[in-house]
């Protein structure tokens, strides 16, 4: 009798346990919320936490709550892989968002492939989705697209010869290589090619060399962090008057603050709609999603969201949309639904995935922005 009661109780407990586990969709994330890449991971983590809370308040996905399990890998690829293993094996998540940097992303990617878990990366490099990996997707545009957008603008302004000054950090280096590759397609010749270290405090020599190169129409500075701000200041101090382009890596208000409003006047860079949320016109397809994310983030954290937070926003949107479309939380079904994403509007752009394209953005996702009076304006 006692044995039978115990068994019955145990069965009930087991069913109850299974019931609660089933009523909840488990999403995993490994982000670099601290460490050298914290400026990427911190807004990403904040965004995901905010969105999950919002979603659950609204009743979750088809009535099922979403649980977010978030780890901070501190920007260490080895740690990222460990946390991804933990998410898959121990926390039994159905999908992973994360990898703030290319290194952490690539460490997780091979694991996601092996285990068959859909994975949306928040890192920029093109190697993440080229060649296409079955289970790996990403939301940020690639460096190559940023180069193309900039060169498109240069071509429209009739520039043919440019000077480049790039950071030697991962972002700057990768973009420098991509820009060199596509420059020919836009009939642009890179006549001067300078670099600086991520910790350098003065780039006047490099800029002087570029200035002294004959026939330079414009200067391009791929890089992120403090480097581009220093380059911009030096550019202004030297009184160079050739048009100056920055990359999407510094598309944030913090850059203007760091470089100074008068120093950065007239600088152009490709950015996302998120930066000019207030300037978006009535009929703009991105207006609604950008404004609602912008407002919610400001309300919750008292600061403006960054482009990087926007990447996390879009990854979450893509993932929840895919789970809804798939009608189940089976990883393979989610993967298929992700690949079938068609015309989903995010803060970064409009996503249309396919078997050959696991990013799903085109150049229209970028907006060419110019800094005027310490703020952003669209030049399109």
């Amino acid at each position: 009798m006692t044995i039978r009661t115990t068994t019955a109780l145990l069965t009930c407990a087991a069913i109850a346990a299974a019931g609660t586990a089933g009523a909840e969709i488990r999403l995993g994330a490994s982000l670099s919320a601290t460490g050298g890449a914290a400026f990427l991971g911190d807004p990403e983590a904040k965004t995901l936490e905010m969105l999950v809370e919002q979603l659950n308040e609204e009743g979750g996905i088809d009535g099922e709550e979403v649980e977010l399990i978030l780890y901070d890998d501190g920007g260490d690829p080895n740690q990222a892989r460990t946390f991804a293993t933990r998410l898959i094996e121990d926390d039994e998540v159905v999908a992973i968002i994360g990898g703030s940097t290319t290194g952490t992303t690539m460490s997780i990617a091979s694991l996601a492939e092996d285990e068959g878990i859909p994975f949306i990366s928040l890192a920029g490099a093109i190697q993440i989705i080229d060649p296409v990996r079955e289970y790996v997707f990403k939301t940020p545009h690639t460096d190559r697209m940023a180069c193309e957008k900039i060169f498109e603008d240069m071509q429209a302004r009739g520039f043919t010869t440019i000077g480049m000054i790039s950071g030697t950090d991962g972002f700057g280096a990768s973009m420098q290589a991509q820009c060199k590759e596509v420059a020919g397609d836009y009939d642009i010749e890179i006549a001067a090619d300078e670099t600086y270290g991520p910790q350098d405090a003065d780039m006047t020599p490099q800029l002087t060399r570029i200035r002294n190169t004959d026939g330079i129409d414009a200067i391009l500075n791929p890089g992120f962090g403090q480097g581009p701000a220093i380059v911009t200041r030096n550019y202004s101090q030297l009184g160079i008057d050739t048009p100056f382009y920055q990359s999407h890596g510094v598309a944030s208000d913090a850059f203007i603050e760091l470089a100074g409003a008068s120093e950065s006047e007239g600088v152009r860079l490709p950015g996302t709609a998120l930066l000019i949320a207030d300037l978006l016109e009535e009929g703009d397809p991105q207006r609604e999603v950008v404004t609602s994310y912008n407002d919610a983030y400001r309300e919750q954290y008292g600061e403006a969201p960054s482009t990087f937070g926007g990447y996390a926003h879009d990854a979450f949107l893509l993932m929840t949309n895919a789970i809804r479309e798939a009608g189940s939380d089976d990883p393979d079904a989610i993967r298929d639904a992700l690949e079938a994403t068609d015309g989903l509007v995010g803060t970064t752009g409009t996503y249309t995935m396919s078997e050959e394209d696991h990013l799903g953005l085109d150049l229209s996702a970028f907006r060419m922005l110019e800094i005027t009076d310490g703020g952003w304006s669209s030049v399109e």
Partner: protein
């Protein structure tokens, strides 16, 4: 404790622990503990036995790791052979730079080794065409798992690397324990005690230091190779300054003078960040407090201090 008992305990732990693993994730953690343990064993020989400091051993881990990434890609070498190549390369470089560097003492030695580590990390970062720069590069699959599968033995990636790294750690511990009581090991420990005294006894001090440096470099290199092969992706972080410091901290925390202490230190510092994830923002603080506390109250390191306390209570 005799050498064989220590080895037997270690082997038993490695073999029995998986019984208690609730999920595949714990195999990964285990494998990481072993990989770090191997590098720390090298430092136990260098710091604990010979009394020389190195703040640049991640440089050798970087050489081992990138040997496994580059040799298969560039020369079509099998990854397992690339591991050996990395070890030989590390030994060669250690022998080459060890001679001048090891003439230095104390802070100067620390700074020189630090410089070496940073140099390796910078080279890897800047040779973008070859190494992919700061973004890192993919590492070829070892292929041994497929071989096992063909033999009808299906193991998961986690289980496989747990086994491989566990065996490698056992071999490493066996070498370190053997070395400890060999004439070379005794000479190292003598020069640790007093360089002048050991020189008067006829010990070739420069040679012994160099031997310790080369052996520890090989340990670090193998550790880096195993990490690269296991992660199948490698970034310059592996050769970075922080990794060097981590390794030294593991050795000192666990007890630099003791082989098992070093492994224990590696285990603690690999596990703590995983356990402390529940504390989220306070993780770093707690980690720091634990380390400072151990250093103040157990300057000999965790394992030797605990062992001594146990012995004292028994008396």
């Amino acid at each position: 404790m005799s050498k064989w008992i220590q080895l037997a305990i270690l082997a038993a732990l490695i073999a029995i622990l998986p019984v208690f693993f609730p999920s595949g994730y714990y195999y990964r953690i285990g494998a990481l503990v072993f990989v770090n343990g191997i590098a720390v064993l090298g430092l136990v020989i260098l710091i604990g036995f010979a009394g020389q400091i190195s703040l640049g051993h991640a440089g050798f881990a970087g050489i081992g790791a990138y040997a496994c990434a580059l040799a298969p890609e560039q020369f079509g070498l099998h990854p397992a052979l690339a591991l050996l190549l990395g070890a030989v390369l590390s030994a060669g470089i250690a022998a080459l730079i060890g001679r001048p560097i090891l003439r230095l003492k104390g802070y100067y030695l620390a700074v020189a080794t630090l410089g070496f580590g940073i140099l390796v990390a910078m080279t890897i970062q800047n040779e973008r065409a070859l190494t992919g720069g700061p973004d890192g590069m993919a590492v070829e699959e070892l292929g041994l798992r497929d071989l096992l599968r063909d033999l009808g033995w299906r193991v998961s990636g986690g289980e496989f690397w747990y086994g491989v790294c566990g065996i490698a750690l056992l071999i490493g511990a066996w070498i370190a324990l053997n070395l400890r009581d060999s004439p070379t090991g005794r000479a190292m420990r003598a020069l640790h005690g007093s360089e002048i005294a050991s020189r008067t006894l006829g010990i070739d001090v420069a040679r012994q230091k160099l031997v310790a440096f080369v052996i520890s470099a090989v340990f670090a290199s193998v550790s880096g190779s195993l990490l690269a092969l296991q992660n199948r992706y490698i970034t310059p972080d592996v050769a970075g300054f922080m990794h060097s410091i981590e390794l030294v901290t593991m050795a000192v925390l666990g007890g630099a003078g003791s082989v098992m202490g070093g492994i224990f230190g590696a285990a603690i510092l690999t596990l703590l960040p995983q356990v402390l994830t529940v504390l989220a923002d306070y993780e770093q603080v707690v980690l720091g407090v634990i380390m400072v506390t151990v250093m103040i109250f157990m300057p000999q390191g965790l394992l030797p201090s605990i062992a001594r306390r146990l012995r004292r209570t028994r008396k």
